[in-house]
Symmetry: C2
Subunit: 292 residues, 2 copies
């Protein structure tokens, strides 16, 4: 962590995800090449049921990243995006031996929930850990693909040498895709874990008990210096679009940096690691194993 | 909660489970009678793979309790208790339409784990919420049988009017059967939830942040007044055998009672509610629904 210079405000270490993502991609490239040489190119399918521009940009960025590491990625657009049609597509992909991993991309249309459809994905292909079986296996400590974003938080902390055993971790947010699974992973790493959320009384005080604070609330600039204990490590999972179209996290960096010991940037923190892990999961699935 | 008399030490309210268990049994009796009148007597199977006296006494007590409410309960002893033989028994019971609910009783023989076998139970028959699918559904908020002990903690708190929304709950223990599921249920009830465990630094201080403290550590007299904030409600999940053979909890009641606002007794607290809920789960399974 940063050494603090006398006479000026200390500034949190920037816990970049770029070098880690590059490391993961290098490993994936090597493993994908071996598989391809043996006759099986690892492949992942992304099911999209929205015409939201940001989402389409994001899934195309996964396809490009996949191509670079030797993984085939295909976008399957479901039109019209009814629950039945999405379910039928997932069932097809589940049965298709040439597809190793499947991602059901959110957002889904109104009235269609990831939770209600994800059980159609077999655990072995559920590379973003969305299904009940994946969630249950993760909770019980059995082999499973963890949601990539949650796992990215953990690998980013490990990469930067942040110790977790016996430490107080606070997770802000209790979503099925980030908050809950990252809490399970922190618990497995022997942290003392608190899950706080919109109904939490005095959220800033609860957040300030954290030595490691994971923020996944989905609101730009939500976390400020009043939420951060001096020296705490802050992981910003947020991916919000600012008024000018730029990507911003859930943490007001300018406010938090003078207080925190470390902070993951947005962009360039959790995001690139998440994408790299999705690709690694696809390769692991093609190898017939889980990633962890 | 208790009104505090001047001039003498206040004493925690005793949060008995007996009246609640009786209420649940009355409901179960009525529903079981309706099912039986319609031609289907609800039935549960308990798979036992140990000759431990305490366990055999416990499963026989479930059978007796089941008989009283009109539920058929059968003990299936697996001999020799290998993983293969237990798995084969679970597979048989999963396929047997006359069996509505199945419990795989712990402890299991060395080298055999509940987690590795429980996936053989279909969620619809997994009335003690042991399987990965049940755990995942619980985490994702989908219909599922919760582990009966975890649910008993929640129903006991509700029965005694303990408000949870926005409150700070601390769970001591992170087992798959109690600590983790009760944390999920507390979170669903909008509590701010901390899970603490053997690796937690300064456990007493963490426990003292609780307005509701759930103790599931499996060690007699583990929790004392140093773990309890004044007025906190304490739920004692422990079922330890004392030197004289009596049942004792994880909480040193004499130490905690002057401090706590409420305390569940052992015996007579979580235990009877757990047994009653197992029977209710069996009836719900026979009705073709989940309990929650």
């Amino acid at each position: 962590m940063s050494s603090r210079a006398c006479g000026r405000a200390s500034v949190a270490d920037t816990l970049s995800g770029k070098a880690l993502a590059a490391e993961i991609r290098a490993d994936v490239t090597e493993r994908a090449a071996k598989l391809t040489a043996a006759g099986t190119t690892p492949s992942l399918a992304i099911v999209v049921a929205t015409d939201d521009d940001g989402t389409l940009w994001y899934v195309r960025s996964i396809v490009k990243a996949a191509e670079k590491v030797g993984v085939t990625a295909t976008i399957h657009t479901v039109e019209p995006p009814t629950a039945e049609a999405i379910g039928a597509k997932l069932t097809d992909l589940a049965a298709d031996d040439s597809v190793h991993g499947v991602i059901l991309q959110t957002p889904l249309p109104e009235g269609v929930s990831l939770t209600d459809l994800s059980h159609l994905l077999p655990a072995a292909k559920d590379i973003d850990g969305a299904s009940p079986v994946s969630a249950g296996n993760l909770t019980l400590g059995l082999p499973a693909f963890a949601p990539a974003t949650a796992q990215a938080c953990m690998e980013l902390l490990a990469h930067h040498g942040v110790e977790l055993s016996g430490k107080r971790a606070v997770v802000l947010g209790r979503s099925a895709v980030v908050g809950k699974p990252v809490a399970q992973l922190l618990l497995q790493a022997n942290a003392t874990v608190t899950i706080a959320h919109s109904r939490t009384a005095d959220l800033p005080a609860v957040a300030r008990t954290a030595e490691v604070l994971v923020v996944a609330v989905g609101r730009a600039d939500f976390v400020t210096d009043e939420h951060v204990a001096p020296g705490a490590v802050v992981v910003d999972v947020g991916t919000n679009t600012a008024a000018d179209g730029s990507l911003v996290g859930d943490v007001a960096a300018a406010s938090v940096e003078p207080v925190a010991g470390g902070l993951t940037p947005v962009p360039g923190g959790v995001g690139p690691v998440t994408t790299a892990l999705l690709l690694r999961h696809a390769v692991s699935a093609a190898e017939g194993t889980f990633d962890r």
